[in-house]
Each structure stands twice: as structure tokens, then as C-alpha cells.
């Protein structure tokens, strides 16, 4: 049943090509809600025991010439990812409710990205997974290049080429696994014993290919530019889900197929992850564009995911999966505030300019949302970010104690730049007087009626995301119960000892 998340999303995208414009956003909304509902239904209905292994849902022969099956499967990890995709997708559509320009086309590309993400998270065949993975890349280009803002064509091209650059290595890795293992089925390949010599070079090719999309340092530079250039919906999807494709596929494919290769390289991954966490946080501290701050924070938070994966123990990896969920929600929320609630009304994202506007009075709801998002992002207990990061750090303590110390310092930086952004954007020195507005930018009227400023669609979207981060933060067992058995079943843990 959960396979229908993919089909209805594609069907929605196709419908958008043919139906007139007035239906566009409703179709997009219904489609994404349908996807979320299916995800939730699977979450409620599937017994937890069934989620411990990658169980087949659909399997039909596809390309007989190469022995490729259309094979979808589900376990706790993919279910978590499907859920976060659904949540982000619905809120994304809500936050792009009043896109004016080429609406059908906008939602068409958007739904293609979402459908591709569902596909990646559910694929149990390497070829199928790669098809969906690459399918996500091109719609992103159009989303950003047509509908984006700052420096959009540059950002879009950079992001696309980086993704495709990673994809090139993934392609090689997949071919090598296929030719050596003789099958493309992930479950069968996960049983296959690859020669250690092969693993030692095939693992990094595959893993770092995927990790480009996860924003691993030093190949992360596409992320901030891409996020800043993208329209709000684009950044929400990009930071919320698309970056997770990289880390998810790295876990599902690279680590599962080449466990010995993973052992050889896990230390390097941990080093790069820690550098990423600290470096990106430090850079974020110096940014003057709010979207760049959040863009770098995404890189920093994705560093936690990679660190979790590198620990190679159940806690660390489960924490990484939880962090993928948590960051998917939080990043979407942060970008929604920055790109939609603030930029749409003030036409600036410069922190200095915002500081003079005293937005917390003009946009109290936005301020409230941003405070929640910032708290979740910093890792205040009670929000999902805290649970995820603490799980990762506990896991990492067993494997790399030194990394935990450095990361701890990094977390202070994360708190610093988040609070700085929060203070500057919403709680600037009130009445500091002259706000120098650039041409075309509109000053906010402090007495603006809040009802006018934040639309209902935005409120619903923001509430959905805040609800998600709170529920998982307060009761993480909900997800961890499903993630941990699935992670335990993965091969790299067993041979890793």
C-alpha cells in the first residue's frame, strides 16, 4: 500500500501538466496529503516486528534483458524517511500556496522531486534506487533556475553539477557491485561476500558519491548557494529531504554492501563529519544572509548524520536516522520562516537590515515559529534535535571519544550562530531608527495586522512541522522502536562485531 506514495505523486505531477491552473495547488496539496496519509497509515498499521528487516512490498520483473526487477521494500529506516518526506512535502506545498508565476510547472517539478524521494526510500533494487535518485536532480534545477531568487542560475547549475558529479561515482560503484555480485537486488547483494580488495576501493567510490548529496565537507559548497538561490519550497525540500537521500543511500547501499570497506573508511568519514560540523557552524557565524546561515547550519547538522553513520554501532546509526528525520523537519521550518515569512514580506534577508525592523512585533507568529525552530535546531531537550544528537553522541562516545569532545565544541558554535540569527532577525534593537532600505524593498508597518501578514496556509504548515518535531522530541520511542531493529538487522554491524 505504501508503494502508492510513489504512484499518486507521479500521477499528481502528470495531472498538473494537463489541468488548468486553478486546480494546480489543490492537486499538489491533495497529492502530498495523500502521500503523508499513506505513510502514517503504514506507520500505524505495520507491526513493529515486520519493520525489522527490509521486507518486500512489490516485486515484478521489469527489464528481463538485464534481470532487473521493480522491487520495493520497507523497513523501519525507510518508513521513517517516507514519513518525513510526507510531512515536508505537505508543508512545502502549504508554504508555496501563493506562487504566482507558472504555477502548474512549479508544482510539477516539486512533485517530481517528492516522488523521486519516495522512490529512493522504498527501492530495494539498486537500479531502481539509482533511477529515482537521478530523477530528483533535474527537477531541482528547474525549480531553482526558474523560480529562485538570489543568483539563481548559478546556484541551480552548481547544485545540479555537484549532484551529478556524485552520481557519476555512484554509477561506477553500482556497476561494480552489479557486475561482481551478479544481481541488482539489494537484499541479495547484502548477502554477497565481496572481496576485501574490491571493497576497499568500491566503498569510498559509492559512499562519497552519495555523500556529496548529503553535503559532506569539503564537497558541501553547493548546499548554501543552492539553498539561498532556491525558492522557499525548493530550499525546504532540498534541505529537508533531498540531502537525506545521500545519507540514506550511503547507509542502505554503500555500508550494507561493503561492510569491510566501511570498516576501513569509517574513521575518515568521522573526521570529515566532525570537520563539517565545526567548520560549517563557524562559517554560519559570519554570514550576513539569513538563508546562508541556515544553509550552513544544514551542512553542520548533516555532519551529525554522517558522524552517526561512521560510529558503526546501533545507537549511533539509529541516531543518524533519527537526525535525518529531525533535521528534515527543522530545516524545513527554518527555511519556511526565512524564505517565506520574512523574505516575502520584507524583501530582504540581510541580518543587518532585519535587525532594524523589529520583526517580532510585526510578525509575532513568525517570531514564535522561529524561536521553536531555533530551539529545536540548537538541541534544547523536548525537541527532536536533542534526542537525535544525544543518541549520535552516545554512539560516537564508544567509537571516537575525541570526536565527541570536538563536536561538543561545535555544538556551542551551532547555538551561537542560531541565537545570533534569531536575535538579529526578530529581536533587533527596537527603534534603532533609520533602516536603510534598498530599492524595491518595502518597510514593514509595525502596526500591521498579524492576520493579514501570516496566511492560514503558512500557519498550518508551520504547525505541522512544529508538531512533528515536538512529538518526536517528547516521545522518541515512537520512531526509535522502529528504527533500531532495522538498523540491527543490517550487515555491517554483524561483521563489524
Amino acid at each position: 500500500m505504501i508503494a502508492w506514495t510513489i504512484y499518486i505523486t507521479f500521477a499528481g505531477a502528470l495531472l498538473l501538466l494537463f489541468l488548468p491552473r486553478i486546480f494546480a495547488r489543490w492537486i499538489a496539496l491533495l497529492t502530498t496529503i495523500g502521500g503523508l496519509a499513506l505513510g502514517l497509515a503504514a506507520f500505524v498499521c505495520t507491526p513493529i516486528a515486520d519493520l525489522a528487516h527490509f521486507a518486500t512490498i512489490v516485486r515484478v520483473p521489469w527489464v528481463s534483458a538485464l534481470g532487473i526487477d521493480y522491487h520495493l521494500a520497507l523497513d523501519g529506516v525507510s518508513l521513517t524517511m517516507v514519513l518525513v518526506t510526507g510531512i515536508s512535502a505537505v508543508s512545502t506545498v502549504l508554504f508555496s500556496w501563493d506562487v504566482e508565476n507558472r504555477q502548474n510547472e512549479f508544482f510539477f517539478w516539486l512533485l517530481l522531486v517528492v516522488a523521486g524521494c519516495y522512490g529512493v526510500f522504498l527501492s530495494a533494487n539498486l537500479f531502481l534506487l539509482f533511477v529515482f535518485y537521478e530523477l530528483v536532480i533535474v527537477p531541482k534545477y528547474f525549480l531553482i533556475a526558474i523560480f529562485g531568487s538570489t543568483n539563481k542560475e548559478y546556484g541551480a547549475m552548481k547544485l545540479t553539477l555537484y549532484s551529478f558529479f556524485g552520481g557519476m561515482f555512484v554509477f561506477i560503484g553500482i556497476l561494480v557491485a552489479y557486475v561482481t555480485g551478479g544481481t541488482l537486488d539489494l537484499n541479495q547483494l547484502a548477502q554477497f561476500q565481496f572481496a576485501p580488495g574490491l571493497q576497499s576501493w568500491a566503498f569510498p567510490v559509492l559512499f562519497f558519491g552519495f555523500a556529496v548529496l548529503a553535503g559532506i565537507w569539503p564537497l558541501h559548497t553547493w548546499a548554501p548557494t543552492g539553498h539561498a538561490a532556491a525558492p522557499t519550497a525548493g530550499s525546504m525540500l532540498l534541505a529537508g529531504i533531498v540531502m537525506k537521500l545521500g545519507s540514506y543511500a550511503g547507509l542502505r547501499v554503500a555500508m550494507n554492501l561493503f561492510p569491510q570497506g566501511f570498516q576501513m573508511w569509517s574513521k575518515s568519514i568521522a573526521v570529515l563529519a566532525v570537520i563539517g560540523i565545526v567548520y560549517a557552524a563557524a562559517v554560519a557565524l559570519r554570514q550576513s544572509d539569513l538563508k546562508f546561515v541556515i544553509g550552513y547550519s544544514s551542512v553542520s547538522h548533516m555532519g551529525f548524520v554522517l558522524l552517526g553513520l561512521a560510529t558503526a554501532n546501533v545507537l549511533g546509526v539509529s541516531g543518524a536516522v533519527l537526525q535525518m528525520f529531525s533535521h528534515g523537519v527543522i530545516a524545513a521550518l527554518l527555511f519556511a520562516v526565512a524564505g517565506r515569512m520574512i523574505y516575502h514580506r520584507t524583501h530582504t534577508r540581510e541580518l543587518d537590515a532585519l535587525a532594524g525592523m523589529n520583526l517580532s512585533h510585526a510578525l509575532p507568529f513568525a517570531a514564535f515559529t522561529f524561536v521553536i525552530a531555533a530551539a529545536a535546531s540548537i538541541g534544547i531537550p523536548g525537541f527532536s534535535g536533542f534526542v537525535a544528537e544525544i543518541t549520535i553522541l552516545i554512539g560516537a562516545w564508544k567509537a571516537y571519544p575525541l570526536a565527541v569532545w570536538i563536536t561538543g565544541a561545535g555544538m556551542v558554535l551551532v547555538a551561537a550562530f542560531t541565537l545570533r540569527a534569531l536575535k538579529q532577525s526578530f529581536f533587533g534593537e527596537a527603534g534603532s531608527g533609520v533602516v536603510r532600505l534598498q530599492e524595491g524593498r518595502v518597510a514593514l508597518d509595525p502596526d500591521w495586522n498579524e492576520q493579514q501578514s501570516i496566511t492560514a496556509a503558512e500557519k498550518i504548515g508551520a504547525c505541522l512541522l512544529m508538531f512533528a518535531t515536538l512529538v518526536v522530541g517528547v516521545y522518541p520511542k515512537l520512531l526509535l522502536d522502529r528504527i533500531m531493529p532495522a538498523v540491527e538487522a543490517m550487515r555491517f554491524l554483524k561483521s563489524g562485531g
Partner: protein, 511 residues
């Protein structure tokens, strides 16, 4: 062997020949005066003349398309296997399949001519297209060097005329001349190579050559023969460094001619090249694996492939004319396709054939869109494509499918083609010996994404330079052409989503 039986086995070719003659006659008897009148009086008020010439052109196209359809039927009626005169005419499932593919490509090329204004004397043009199609069918259906050479010449001479057909355009003349000079030189190389091979083996049948070469060692003379033959074909498929004719021919020739040169000619050349190296030269295969290179034809092809991929992709980056860009990308695609032949075997050959077929379909479509834009804006530079998506969303969408398929983005045919090819190449030699070539090809397709995306950027992102003059009239003129293009785009999508339709056919047809 009675003549009746021979005629039965050669019936598809015979039908196309007859169609060509009929089309020529119709063109000469009906369209001639009218077309002559328009030329001599230089756009007079005579509407009647141009109308009758339009009607004659439509009749010619109709007869040609009908003839091709009958020819497809005839191919389907052929027996499964037959060999005539020691391989001069061979009928196998593979040759039948590729005869059909060649005919279909000619079919779409003819549809593209229907609204091409620059082609006077439509009957003659269509007759030449049909003659070229016979060349393709002979090439595909022969396993004998002399017959192959005759097919090559028939195809080549027809294509030279097609390239130079637009007498009002200087570029068309340049295209024709360049194509002719390079093409005839390459023919000379091929003939020289063939004669050496014949001298070494004493026979011109591919199977017999293979049997002879199996016992002989690789002598310098044989190596020269092989290299010469390959060089001739490298000209035909526009592999670097023998690609220099391609950019000018693609840019200058009338759009349908360029489409046919890029599609039909390429498919048939790859079929023949594959047969020659995999059947005829099988014993002197050699190896192109990274540390285990052994002399033979496969290192030569590997070098050609590597050079084509690098040069084609890098030079395509700098093009500002879409047709030139397609020409350089064609060089790169020839390089990818060669990977399949280097890999060899059933897998490699069928991968190469799948790739070149889908590529041909894609390029006919892409040239169709070029023709549309040319008609609409009067040029085919990238800037002419700005804002196409607001002028004609359908054509823009089709172009997106074509370009992304060429770039190898799923779920389009080009992606599966690449996967199939690269997998065959990687599987061919033990311990991933061809990984270097596969990695290079992947790097090439990474580069190529940039320029294909630039084309789409012009179409989708950039604003239109000036308002489209009379978009409606263009659409109604082009209704046949746009439906043909949409059909091709649908085919590219379908072959990507369900590649089995073609891949299983090719694989089953492999000997």
C-alpha cells in the same frame, strides 16, 4: 536459386526502389512547372503555382510514406533466416529488426520534410531519401565486404546530395562539399583496407575471413588493413579525430538531411562496424583492458572511443549554435557506443545497438524541434531557443525529453542505454579491466549534462527576446511535424521506462 526467390528475399529493398522511382516520377510530372515558376518569377502573385507545388509535395510525401509502410510489411514477411551468395544478402532476425528501424527512421525524416520550406523539388529530395534508405538496408543486410562497400557508397552519395540540397543557402553547399570530400576520402580508406583484407584472406565474406584469420598471426599488413577499414568507419560514425565534417554538415545541411545523417546513417554504420569487427575480425580481437592491452582492433576502438568522448564533450561546451552542439555531442555519443563494440560479445553488441537506436530516435526528434524553431525564428542558435516554453510548451517539453535523454537522465531511454553499455563494458573483461573507459565515459556524460542543461536553460528559464510573430500559423503549418516529434518524444520516454520492448528484441535477435 531462381530469380523469383531472389526477388522475394530482396522484396523490401525492391519495394523501396520502386517507391523511389514513383516518387521521382510524380515530382517530375506534377511539381516541376509549379516549382520552376516560383523560382523564375521570384515570388510572384501566383498563388495557384505554389498551391499546386504544395499539393505535389504532399502527394510525394504520402507515396513515400506509403511505400515505406509496405516495405516494413515486406520485411515482416521475410523468412527468419536465409543467406544468399556467400553472405551478400543475409536475412536473420537481427537484420530484419534493423531494416525496420532504418525504415522507421526514414519515415520520420520524411515527416520532417513536410513543412520544410527551403526544399524545392520535393519529389527529387524524397527519392534521394529513399535511395539512402536502400543503402541503409543493404548495409544492414549484408555480411560481405563488397556488398557493404556498395551499400556505403549508395548511402554516402545520396547523403552528399541531401546535404547540399538547399541551393539557396551557402551553408548547405559548404556542408555538402565538406561532407563529400571527407566522405569520399573515408571511402578510399575503407576500400584500401578491404582490399588488404581480401589480399590476406582471399575472400570477402565475413565468416570466411574470420576462418582464415584464425590461423594467421597478426602481421603488419593485416594490422594496416584492419586499421584502414576502421578509419573509414570512424569517418562514417564521426568518431574523433575523424569527425571534422560533422559540425559543418549538421549545421549547414537542410534540417531533415542533417537528421537523417545523424540517425539512419549512424545506426547502419554501427550495425556494419559491429558485424565486421565481431564476425570478420573476431580472431584478431586483442584486448583494451587497462594493464592487459593486446594488439588487435579493440585497443584501436578503445582509443577512438576515449578520444571521441573527451573531445566531443569538451568542444560541445563552447558551442553557441544548437546544431553544432548536437554535432559535437554526436562525436561523444559515437564514443560511448564504441564501448559496446570494445566490450564485444552478445551483450556488448546488443548494448551498442540499443544505444545507437535510441540515440537515433532522439536526434531525429531534436532536429525536428530545431526545424520548428528555425521556421519560427529564422535561426538555430541557442538564443533563438529563448522562451520556447512560452511559445510552444509542447515543443519545449519534447526538447527537454530529448536533451535529458542525451544527458542520460532517468527515466529516459538514454539513461538505460548508458547503463546497459557500461555494464556490458565492465562485464566484458575480467577484474574490471575496462573500468578506465567506463569511468572516462561517465566523466564525459557528467560534462555533457552542463551543455544540455544550458539548452534547456535557454528554453525554460530565459525570457523570450522578442514576441513571437505569428505563433498560431506556425503551429498549424507544423501540425504533422509536431505530432511526429511528440511521437518520438513518447518513444524516448517509453523506451526508458520499459526498455525491454527494444532490448529484449535485440537480444533475442542476436546470433
Amino acid at each position: 536459386m531462381s530469380y523469383l526467390e531472389l526477388l522475394k528475399l530482396a522484396s523490401p529493398e525492391a519495394i523501396v526502389v520502386i517507391t523511389a522511382l514513383v516518387v521521382l516520377t510524380i515530382g517530375l510530372t506534377t511539381g516541376r512547372e509549379a516549382a520552376g515558376a516560383t523560382v523564375s518569377t521570384a515570388r510572384p502573385t501566383g498563388n495557384a503555382g505554389s498551391r499546386s507545388s504544395t499539393r505535389s509535395a504532399a502527394l510525394c510525401a504520402f507515396v513515400a510514406v506509403l511505400g515505406l509502410a509496405v516495405a516494413i510489411g515486406a520485411v515482416l514477411m521475410l523468412p527468419r533466416n536465409a543467406t544468399l551468395f556467400g553472405g551478400m544478402l543475409v536475412i536473420t532476425p537481427l537484420t530484419s529488426l534493423f531494416k525496420i528501424i532504418c525504415i522507421v527512421l526514414a519515415f520520420f525524416t520524411i515527416l520532417l520534410t513536410t513543412s520544410e520550406k527551403s526544399l524545392r523539388h520535393r519529389g527529387e529530395y524524397l527519392a534521394i531519401v529513399l535511395l539512402a534508405t536502400i543503402g541503409l538496408m543493404l548495409l544492414v543486410g549484408s555480411e560481405e565486404l563488397l556488398m557493404i562497400f556498395i551499400g556505403l557508397e549508395l548511402l554516402g552519395l545520396s547523403l552528399y546530395v541531401m546535404a547540399a540540397f538547399d541551393k539557396t543557402d551557402l551553408r548547405s553547399a559548404e556542408a555538402g562539399l565538406k561532407y563529400f570530400l571527407f566522405g569520399s576520402t573515408s571511402s578510399a580508406f575503407t576500400l584500401f583496407g578491404i582490399s588488404l583484407i581480401y589480399g590476406m584472406s582471399g575472400t570477402t565474406g565475413l565468416a570466411a575471413i574470420s576462418a582464415k584469420l584464425a590461423t594467421a598471426s597478426v602481421q603488419p599488413l593485416l594490422a594496416v588493413g584492419i586499421v584502414m577499414t576502421l578509419v573509414g568507419f570512424a569517418f562514417k560514425i564521426a568518431a574523433a579525430p575523424f569527425h571534422l565534417w560533422a559540425p559543418d554538415a549538421y549545421q549547414g545541411a537542410p534540417v531533415p538531411s542533417a537528421a537523417f545523417i545523424a540517425s539512419g546513417s549512424k545506426v547502419a554504420s554501427f550495425v556494419v562496424l559491429g558485424k565486421i569487427v565481431l564476425i570478420g575480425f573476431a580472431p584478431v580481437h586483442g584486448s583494451a583492458a587497462w594493464h592487459g592491452m593486446v594488439a588487435g582492433w579493440s585497443p584501436v576502438l578503445a582509443a577512438l572511443a576515449a578520444f571521441s568522448i573527451l573531445l566531443g564533450n569538451l568542444v560541445a561546451l563552447a558551442q553557441s549554435n544548437l546544431r553544432r552542439l548536437l554535432a559535437y555531442s554526436a562525436v561523444a555519443h559515437a564514443g560511448y557506443t564504441l564501448l559496446g563494440l570494445v566490450a564485444g560479445g552478445r551483450d556488448g553488441f546488443s548494448a551498442a545497438l540499443f544505444y545507437t537506436t535510441t540515440y537515433a530516435i532522439t536526434l531525429v526528434g531534436a532536429f525536428g524541434v530545431v526545424g520548428f524553431v528555425r521556421h519560427e525564428t529564422g535561426g538555430d542558435d541557442l538564443s533563438n531557443f529563448s522562451g520556447l516554453c512560452s511559445r510552444s510548451p509542447l515543443m519545449a517539453g519534447c526538447m527537454a525529453i530529448f536533451m535529458l535523454s542525451l544527458a542520460g537522465i532517468p527515466p529516459l531511454a538514454g539513461f538505460f542505454g548508458k547503463f546497459y553499455l557500461f555494464r556490458a563494458a565492465l562485464q566484458a573483461s575480467p577484474s574490471h579491466g575496462l573500468l578506465w573507459l567506463v569511468a572516462l565515459a561517465l566523466f564525459g556524460s557528467f560534462i555533457s549534462l552542463y551543455y544540455y542543461l544550458m539548452v534547456l536553460k535557454f528554453i525554460f528559464v530565459d525570457k523570450q527576446a522578442e514576441a513571437g510573430a505569428d505563433h498560431r500559423s506556425v503551429m498549424t503549418d507544423y501540425v504533422l511535424q509536431t505530432s511526429a516529434i511528440s511521437l518520438l518524444a513518447a518513444a524516448v520516454l517509453l523506451l526508458g521506462v520499459m526498455p525491454d520492448i527494444l532490448a529484449a528484441q535485440i537480444l533475442a535477435a542476436m546470433p
